[in-house]
């Protein structure tokens, strides 16, 4: 019994003006409250799918069907691959940005901003400038900025790809804790098999050129995601299944087979 879909992709295609087809015939479902990962090699269109959800691009075929009554565009948080902070503004002002653009003054927004900073454990750094923070801390600020509007849907585009493994593990743990606490829906784009299996309740494996879904992997949502899980045989088995799904998706893609996985 799956929860109600928040959003459904119905035969969605996206072809860019330069003729590159990023997505074709993409059918998928995002369910309310779930943590779903889009797994695939670079350039398989998963980031494009995320941009379509955010409304930063429009599909050229098919449609995105939102659940009735969703005020979609206004309850979306987006975390980019880079922290994408404004270097001229301190942490507080960076997190304030989405609320400021919505017309909330500094004073009115302060409780929400401080709460978002508490959530990522950076309340003490409110006056620091981005250049004074480490890569992991900058990413935390970026997450706080995405959370400050209390979005129902959080879109994350390979947010931890540029971080070292130790920092990435820590942020993975913290992200899961945040997700449980806030109860929002998270769509997480990654090219890491291990990250996708550790984090999500569902992994959607993309195959490239043109991007669409090759396989779906469900992971028991009741499974505790902790250090023990990270080293357990179940985790290894799930990761192996995801890897195999990814490998066969790569073989199916005609151009990728010619170019080889290294070029994908």
């Amino acid at each position: 019994m799956s929860p109600a879909p928040l959003l459904r992709f119905e035969g969605v295609g996206k072809t860019f003006p330069n003729g590159v087809t990023a997505l074709a015939g993409l059918d998928m479902e995002i369910r309310a409250g779930e943590f779903v990962s889009l797994l695939g090699p670079s350039g398989c269109g998963k980031s494009t799918a995320l941009r379509l959800i955010a409304g930063l691009a429009e599909p050229t075929a098919g449609r995105l069907a939102w659940a009735p009554g969703t005020d979609a565009r206004h309850s979306i948080g987006f975390v980019f691959q880079e922290p994408t902070l404004m270097p001229w503004a301190n942490v507080f002002a960076n997190v304030h940005l989405p609320l400021r653009l919505a017309g909330q003054s500094r004073r009115a927004a302060e409780p929400a901003i401080m709460e978002a900073l508490e959530l990522v454990g950076l309340a003490a750094f409110r006056d620091a400038y981005p250049r004074e923070l480490s890569g992991g801390m900058k990413m935390r600020v970026s997450i706080a900025r995405a959370l400050v509007t209390r979005p129902r849907l959080l879109l994350m585009d390979e947010p931890f790809a540029a971080l070292d493994e130790i920092t990435r593990f820590k942020l993975n743990d913290d992200l899961l804790a945040l997700w449980r606490r806030l109860g929002c829906t998270i769509v997480f784009v990654t090219h890491s098999v291990f990250e996708s299996v550790f984090l999500s309740g569902r992994v959607l494996v993309f195959h490239p050129r043109p991007g669409s879904i090759a396989a779906e992997l469900a992971i028991d949502p009741g499974q505790p995601r902790d250090e023990a899980f990270r080293t357990s045989p179940e985790y290894a088995a799930l990761a192996r299944r995801a890897s195999q799904a990814l490998a066969s998706a790569m073989r199916e893609a005609p151009e990728a087979a010619l170019a080889g996985p290294g070029a994908a």
């Binding site: 270097p87 653009l101 981005p130 250049r131």
Partner: protein, 260 residues
Amino acid sequence: MPASRLRWLLPLGVLALVVLGWDLVVRLNALPPYILPGPGLVLETLIADRAVLFGSLLVTLRVTLLALACAVIGGVGLALVFASARIVELSLFPIAVILQVTPIIAIAPLMLIYLQPDTAVLVCAFIVAFFPILANTTLGLNSVDPNLRDLFALSGASSWQTLRLLRLPAALPYFLGGLRIAGGLALIGAIVAEIAAGSAGQGSGLAFRIVESGYRLNIPRMFAALLLVSLAGILIYLALSLVSWLALRRWHESEIGRMR
């Protein structure tokens, strides 16, 4: 000795050596002041003629700063127009380039025919100071992180909000770099135009003093006026560097690197 103090002492020491060498050359060869005055005589002249020379310095500084202010308003204003309408940029930018690449000394005589000498000097200084501000600000306004642009779009930012909160701050380091170049160029433009005006102009800036002293073979005063021109240039550069430091010290790499 700490490296920071060395940074000041070394150039000052070299400068002192140059002045000392100059003095020695004049003394040992017993050069007459109308060929080459010694540094002492230049300093004496500077003090003796201070009323005339400092008055001229003020005239030159005023023209330079006025031209710079006009260049900032015009350059930033036009850059904003360029940034909002690409078609305007495509049509007007080549004209700005033509103005920039034509040597100001060749334009100055024309200006002197059509305009009052004072206005002509101001316009010449404006023309040379205008381009670096326009070019740099345009570059800066277009150098916005595409992800931040997406974030603003996602948050439903109006184009005014995007300009004020994103594009203008992103352009600030570029603008300040252009301003520092423009400050020096405005002074050069003002001096060149004044020299072109020469005795025909009733101007009384430093360049006019140099030309006038040359005609009268008052070489020490020529040097004194030259010294003031250099001082004016240094003063403008330092002031604009200070502005740049005040605006960027908290966040921009160019000013953070300086403090380390």
